[in-house]
């Protein structure tokens, strides 16, 4: 018996409209001590979808996850699993009745049970027959490539292997929703990178619905169908990894997901039809940038605007059809060689600028003109 049918290798993640959302949060609120840890969150997760909650520590992402798991009860709002109420302020279905899988930051692999006992525990609790348990444990251990270690104790395993045990344990009961609470943060850097891609492949292969919490933006971009960027108990933006990175809804999102160069200026022209504005930058030069529709509607020449540019979108070569008039004049600060690229610290007027470049660039008297990759400049509100 195979864990997945090869024919259906990739499961379509498009939300099915006739099915209820696998998870739905409605105006969820929770105070921890004096702070509003979660302050009004609405979110729907469709079956088969992988949603990542991304934010700095204390943004409420773990609190949200623990409310979904049933370890915390919301003070306001509702949690629905498959269209059935699981928690509100007066009712909380106990965690064991929610049919979830969860991978903990500390792995929480039970040290007194073997790998197979750990993985099979949920099936034992569910009252499955011995033979069936053995079969399913073997299948799920194969899935996470731990087939030969079934008889070992966790203390005999490496961190990465314990991580896989925790994942296998969470998958063994075929949960309707898999929760992952910063599962990779205790692994060393190279293993973490490797596990990211492996987790993503596994998620796609078996089509399990996933809610994943992390503060690591790279992890979020790799693993998510949709990223939910959170800050101070609220959602700042929900979108695909590309949307969140290229068209951040706020300065916070721009700064948290990737490195942001922010250039201030004054609007000289608004083109609502094209969705663009021209901005006279304080550092000199006039640049054209894309902007969110809502912001454009209220924009008018003479108002202030902030342009966001990613370090890799600023170049020394003038493109064929630049979005700028003269190029941005910058002053050299320092340069570091990072192997695949140079990391330059420059200043444009008074604004510090970080640029990633294949070449160290040429500076005359410590000055150079830089060009934005066409269509990369974006106005942040």
């Amino acid at each position: 018996m195979n864990f997945y049918s090869p024919a259906a290798d990739i499961v379509d993640t498009a939300p099915a409209t006739d099915q209820p959302a696998r998870l739905e949060l409605r105006n969820l609120r929770k105070r921890l001590g004096d702070t509003a840890a979660v302050n009004g969150i609405d979110l729907k997760v469709a079956p088969g979808e992988s949603v990542v909650l991304l934010g700095p520590s204390g943004c409420g992402k773990t609190t949200t996850l623990r409310m979904v798991a049933g370890f915390l009860q919301p003070e306001d709002g509702e949690i629905h699993l498959d269209g059935v109420l699981a928690s509100n302020a007066s009712f909380a279905l106990p965690p064991e009745k929610r049919h979830l899988g969860m991978v903990f930051q500390t792995y929480a692999v039970w040290p007194h049970k073997t790998v197979a006992e750990n993985v099979g525990y949920g099936l034992v609790v569910a009252g499955k027959k011995r033979a069936e348990i053995d079969r399913e444990v073997a299948a799920v251990l194969d899935l996470v490539q731990l087939g030969d270690l079934a008889k070992r104790y966790p203390s005999e395993l490496s961190g990465g292997q314990q991580q896989r045990v925790a994942l296998a344990r969470a998958l063994a009961t075929k949960p309707s929703l898999l929760l992952l609470d910063e599962p990779l943060s205790n692994l060393d850097a190279s293993l973490r990178q490797e596990m990211r891609f492996e987790l993503r492949a596994l998620q796609k292969r078996i089509g399990i619905t996933t809610l994943y919490v992390t503060h690591d933006q790279d992890e979020a971009l790799v693993l998510a169908d949709r990223v939910v960027v959170m800050n101070k108990g609220r959602i700042e933006q929900v979108g695909t990894p590309e949307e969140v990175y290229r068209t951040p809804a706020s300065r916070f999102v721009g700064n948290f997901v990737g490195t942001a160069n922010l250039l201030e200026g004054t609007i000289v022209n608004v083109d609502v039809a094209a969705g663009r504005v021209s901005v006279a930058l304080d550092a000199g030069d006039i640049a054209s940038a894309r902007a969110p529709a809502g912001w454009l509607a209220a924009a008018a020449p003479g108002q202030r605007a902030t342009l966001l540019l990613r370090p890799e979108d600023i170049r020394f070569d003038r493109p064929e059809r630049p979005d700028q008039q003269t190029g941005l004049e910058v002053r050299f600060g320092s340069a570091s060689f990072l192997g695949s690229r140079y990391e330059l610290q420059l200043t444009a007027g008074d604004t510090p600028l970080r640029v990633q470049s294949r070449t160290p660039g040429t500076f005359v008297d410590g000055r150079a003109r830089l060009w934005f990759r066409p269509n990369s400049a974006w106005v942040v509100a």
Partner: protein, 576 residues
């Protein structure tokens, strides 16, 4: 098994069975178990203490009054007993510090020889209850027939016996030997934990060794010293065994022995409760001081390990310090243990120590089925078994509640348990007597209630620490896997804290065996335990029998404590 298993629909109960789902959210088993444990806790600790306070402040007509205090303390000898208790506490505290602090420094920070022996001897002193020390020291230093006195007169040319254990000074000496290990262990542990970098920083800035010790090291271990002093004071104030044994012979009283007298027939509960009140107040104040001042200081980081460059080389003084160590080991462990063993096989106290005078008849009598001692051994073992089991079970549930559930009552539970810890045994026994005498008069159950309430804190603290070290994730992982509360505790929590539970069980068992002050008040003719029989033997002058029974107590205690090694070797609860 296919992808559909994950992509498929819900297995959560449909909305139709809303009532059932609401019921399951209450978690009845959890509520029941926790509720029962809290009920037992209240019955064991809160109820008797409330009675105790009530009796001392409320007269027969139910009015609030201070008359009881006035009458109680106007009884003959009561003020003298209070003064005696105060003097005893002062001398014992000073003596324990004078002995414990230098020893701790020598052991933790110098190259003196014989350091390991000191730790061992302190452990032995700590395990031997003071009423057993009395037996040993009567053999060694009774005014006329004590063997040390005989030696001094015969070989060292003393005209009079130099030692007299049957005196107030003798009592102070025995109490110091019993409690100095508290100071010693606390201070040497603290000294071990002062990180070398603290002292090295001072040395780098130009302070000498002595200056560093005085201005850096000592202030860092001051919280440990203060904590130990408070424990020593409470211990001396509430001590009963040695004062009872020596006081009877030397004709003086302290507060605890007065309380005991007040409970002899006809028992005067309200006076006993009133007399116990000063001890209670002193205890409460001390614990508050400890909680709010010392603890605040204690949060200063004491982490790390003593390293070799913290060891002071004593040079010539090395042998002086070594001599001091050997003397302490000899006087506090070797002599008393040897005396006890010898006395238990000597034909009669006072007889010459020759091979022909060594007999086993005392042990034969101890185990004689028709003699009181055998029954007391069985009672003691039964009680120890029951107490250890009750305390370990209760400690597990309460420890879990306090560590895992965030609610207002958890502070209250901790508070109640710690009150029982600081509470003088003798006063607590009075409360138990008032609360449960009608239900359980003359039964072992009455004594079990007292033991369990008094020893619960030890089990609670140990098991709670075990649970504290256990990441909550481990239990939550069980819940997510579908296990209910009880199942999670059974499959995950208990196996992982088994080591702590085992150690708690062993400690409580061992402490139950040697409990005297509560047993003396609560036991009747049919419910004698080993310690009360030892005291009876001392008072009757059957000191050889007392020694033989004491050897039984010490042997069982030490061998059961050996089980701790077994429990700590298990590699449970290692992973957090």
């Amino acid at each position: 098994m296919s992808t559909a298993a994950y992509a498929g629909g819900s297995r959560i109960a449909p909305a139709g069975s809303a009532l059932l789902r609401r019921l399951s959210s209450i978690q009845p088993v959890k509520l029941l178990v926790i509720g029962f444990a809290v009920f037992i806790l209240l019955a064991l600790i809160a109820y008797p203490l409330a009675l105790l306070i009530g009796y001392s402040f409320i007269d027969a007509q139910g009015n609030l009054t201070f008359d009881t205090f006035e009458k109680a303390f106007n009884r003959r000898g009561m003020w003298q007993a209070t003064v005696n208790s105060t003097v005893l506490v002062a001398f014992v505290t000073a003596g324990a510090c004078a002995l414990g602090i230098p020893l701790a420094w020598i052991v933790a920070r110098t190259d003196a020889p014989g350091k390991i022996l000191v730790t061992l001897a302190a452990g032995i002193s700590f395990v031997i209850p003071s009423f057993i020390s009395v037996v040993s020291w009567i053999f060694l230093a009774a005014p006329n027939s004590g063997y040390l006195n005989k030696l001094a007169i015969e070989y060292l040319g003393f005209a009079h016996a130099p030692f007299n254990i049957m005196s107030f000074g003798g009592l102070v000496f025995i109490e110091i030997i019993g409690v100095y290990p508290l100071v010693f262990f606390a201070v040497s542990a603290a000294l071990h934990n002062v990180d070398a970098s603290n002292e090295q920083a001072a040395r780098v800035l130009g302070a000498g060794r002595l200056r560093t010790t005085l201005t850096i090291t000592l202030p860092l271990v001051r919280p440990a010293i203060l904590s130990a002093i408070i424990l020593v004071m409470l211990d001396a104030l509430s001590s009963f065994g040695a004062p009872a044994a020596i006081g009877t012979m030397a004709n003086f009283s302290v507060i605890t022995t007065k309380i005991y007298d007040l409970l002899k027939f006809p028992p005067q509960f309200n006076y006993a409760a009133a007399v116990a009140m000063p001890i209670m107040v002193f205890t409460a104040v001390s614990l508050l001081i400890q909680r709010y001042t010392i603890r605040a200081e204690n949060f200063r980081t004491l982490t790390g390990k003593a390293t070799s460059d913290q060891i002071t080389t004593l040079g010539r003084w090395r042998w002086v310090a070594g001599g001091f160590c050997v003397f302490v080991v000899f006087a506090t462990a070797v002599l008393p243990i040897g005396a006890l063993l010898l006395l238990s096989v000597l034909s009669s106290f006072g007889a010459d120590v020759t091979l022909s005078n060594l007999v086993t008849k005392h042990y034969a009598l101890i185990f004689d089925p028709d003699f009181v001692a055998r029954g007391s051994i069985i009672n003691s073992l039964l009680l120890a078994l029951a107490t250890a089991t009750v305390c370990a079970g209760l400690g597990l549930v309460l420890g879990w509640v306090v560590e895992r559930i965030k609610f207002f009552g958890r502070e209250l539970i901790t508070f109640l348990v710690m009150i029982a810890y600081g509470f003088p045994s003798i006063a607590y026994a009075v409360g138990i007597l008032m609360g449960y005498v009608n239900l359980f008069y003359g039964t072992l159950t009455l004594i079990l209630i007292a033991y369990a309430g008094k020893l619960l804190p030890i089990a609670f603290v140990l098991i709670r620490n075990g649970i504290q070290q256990l990441s909550t994730d481990l239990e939550e992982a069980a819940r997510i896997s579908g296990a209910g509360w009880l199942r999670g505790v059974r499959d995950v929590t208990f196996p992982l804290v088994r080591g702590a539970v085992g150690i708690a069980w062993v400690l409580v068992f061992s402490l139950s065996l040697r409990e005297l002050s509560m047993s003396a008040i609560l036991s009747q003719a049919d419910t004698q335990v080993m310690p009360t029989v030892v005291i009876q033997f001392i008072e009757d002058g059957a000191i050889e029998l007392a020694a033989a029974l004491s050897v039984v107590i010490v042997t069982v205690s030490l061998s059961i404590l050996g089980l701790i090694r077994f429990f700590s070797r298990k590699k449970t609860a290692l992973v957090s």
